[in-house]
C-alpha cells in the first residue's frame, strides 16, 4: 500500500474514446438508479462518484476533472427531486481535487486507490452535507461510523471497478 510522490513527467496521462466517455457515466447513473430497487443495500454505493474519481485521476487535468464531475453530478441531481446542484457542486469539488492529486501522486496501485477513494468519498459527503444544510435547509444527520463504513465499501468497490475501467484507457 504505497502512495508514490512522482514528478509530472513520470505520471502517465490517459484519454478515453468518445463512446467510453459518454457511455460509462451513463451506465453508472443507470445502475445507480436501477440496482437499489432489487438490492436495497446497494444504495450505500455511489457509482457516479467512483466514475468521477476514476476519470479525474486518469486524465490528470483539473478542468476536465471538474467539468466531468459537474456534469455527472448535475445529471444525478436531475434524477432526484432535490434542487439541481447538490451533487453537482460536490462532484465538481471531488473532480478538481482528484485530478489535482492525480497529477502529484501515482495512483495506479490498489492501496493508493483505496485510500484516495475513501478520502474523496468523505470529502464528497462533507460538501454535500454542508450545502444541503446551509443552502437548501434539508434536515440531515451526520454519522461518522456510517460515513466511514460507506466510504470503505465504496473504496473496495472502486478497486474492482477501476481495474475493469483501466481497459478503456488509452495512453496519450
Amino acid at each position: 500500500m504505497a502512495i508514490t510522490y512522482t514528478s509530472g513527467e513520470q505520471v502517465e496521462v490517459y484519454r478515453f474514446s468518445l463512446p467510453a466517455t459518454i457511455l460509462i457515466p451513463l451506465i453508472a447513473l443507470f445502475l445507480q438508479a436501477w440496482v437499489p430497487l432489487r438490492f436495497h443495500f446497494f444504495s450505500i454505493f455511489d457509482l457516479p462518484l467512483l466514475i468521477t474519481i476514476f476519470f479525474a485521476m486518469a486524465r490528470r487535468s483539473q478542468i476536465a476533472g471538474l467539468l466531468t464531475g459537474a456534469l455527472i453530478g448535475v445529471i444525478q441531481d436531475s434524477l432526484t427531486h432535490q434542487p439541481i446542484g447538490l451533487y453537482g457542486l460536490s462532484k465538481t469539488v471531488v473532480g478538481f481535487g482528484a485530478s489535482s492529486l492525480g497529477v502529484k501522486l501515482d495512483a495506479e496501485n490498489a492501496g493508493a486507490r483505496l485510500l484516495l477513494t475513501l478520502f474523496f468519498y468523505v470529502v464528497h459527503e462533507v460538501v454535500y452535507f454542508l450545502i444541503a444544510r446551509g443552502l437548501v435547509s434539508l434536515h440531515m444527520t451526520w454519522s461518522w461510523p456510517h460515513e466511514l463504513w460507506s466510504g470503505l465499501a465504496n473504496a473496495f468497490l472502486g478497486i474492482v471497478l477501476y481495474a475493469v475501467l483501466d481497459r478503456f484507457k488509452h495512453r496519450t
Binding site: L26, I27, L29, F30, Q32, A33, W34, P36, L37, H40, S43, I44, Q62, I63, L66, L67, A70, V74, I75, Q76, S78, L79, T80, H81, Q82, P83, I84, G85, L86, Y87, G88, L89, T92, V93, F96, Y128, I131, A132, L135, V136, S137, L138, H139, M140, T141
Partner: protein
Amino acid sequence: MESFLGRYRNLIVLTAVLFAQILGLAVQVKRTSDTESSRLIRVWAVGAVTPFEKALVWVQTSTGNLWHNYFYLRGVRAENRQLKEQIEYMRLEQVRMSQDAEQARRLQALLAFKEQFISQTMPAQVIGSSGSEQSRSVYIDKGEKHGIKPDMAVITADGVVGKVLHVYGSTSLVLLISDQSSGVGAILEKSRLQGILRGTPAGEVTLEKVMGDETVLPGEVVLTSGGDRIFPKGLPIGTVTRAFPGSELFLSIRVKPAANLSKVEEVLVVTRIDERQAEPDRSNAGRAVDILAERLPTVPPKPENAPAGTATAAPPGTTQNPSASAASGTPQKAVGSPNSVAGPEAKPNPPAPAGGGPPVARKPAAPGTAPAVGNPPAKILPKTVKPPAQPKPQPPAQDNPQ
C-alpha cells in the same frame, strides 16, 4: 494579465463552475413551488437514463412471465382449488360486510356526509429509483401521455406508497412516504388520533403532531385521514411500532409502512377520486343468506303424489332447500337469522352424496312429523326443509277469481 489568467486558469474555471451552480441552486430554492426552471435538464436526464431502465425491466418481466406461465406450473391445480375455496369464503364475507357498510352509509346519509372513493386507477411498473439516499423516490413507466398528473396518489394492495411529484412524457417520479419532504394526513384506526406522517433522513416513517398526553400502543393501524386532499380517507399506511415522548409536547411515533417501500415493483396510480354524498344502496343486493342458499346441496323435486302427511311444517330457523324452491318457482331464500349462517366461521356445505343419497338434515324435525329414519330420501327432506306455513305465491288475477 494573460500570464495571470494562464496561471490561475484552473482555479478560475473551478470558481466559475461552482458559482454558476450555487446561483442556480439559490434560484431553485427561492422558487420552491416552481420546477419549471430546472425542468429541461431533468427531462434530458430522465430521457437519457429511463430507456435503459425500461428495456431492462421489460426483459426481466418477459423472462419472468415465460418462466411462470409456461415452465413453473407445478402445484397450480392445487393452488387453483384453494383459491376457489377462498373466493367462496370471501364472497360470503363480502356480502356480510356490505351489509355493515350499507348501514354505515345510511347513517352517513342522515348526517349529509360526503364520502370519497377511488373511481379510477392506473397500474404502473416501477422502473428505477433516484439512486440517492437523500431522495427516496422511484420512477414509474406511466407519464403525461397516460393521463398521470402531479399530486396523484400512488398505492399498492398493501397500502400507500407515495404521490406523483414530477411528470414527464412516459415516466413519472413518485415521492415515497419515507422521504423527509413528504407529508401525509394520517389517523390512528382505534384511538382516532390525527397526525401528519413524515419520513426521516434515515428513511424511517414517523407520525407527528400527536399530543404527548395521548396513549398510542404499538400495533395500532395507521390510515389516511383524507385531510391532505391527495389520499382518499381510510387507506392503510402502516402500523405503529414504537411511541415515545418526543420534542415540544408531541409524541414521536414510529410507523412501519404497510407497503414494502424498498421492494415495490407494481403500483396503482389513483387517477380519479370522486366525492359524493352518501346514499343508502337501494338496489337490495344479495344477502349472505341468499348466497349461502344458492350453495345448499341439490335435492330432487318433491313428487306430485307424495302423501299429505309428509309435507309438514318446519320449525322456525330451518333453511329452505333451494332446489325445492327452484322447482316450485319461488325465489331461493333462507329462513332464519343471517348471522347463524354467514358468520366468519361459515364453511361450505357438504355436497350432495353421490348416488342420490339424502343430504344431511340441518335441524331435527319438529315433533309430530314423520320419523326420518327408514324413510326414502324424497319423503324425508320435505319434513325438515319445506316451510308449509308460507302460502304459494298466487298471480294477482287469481286473488279474486269470482
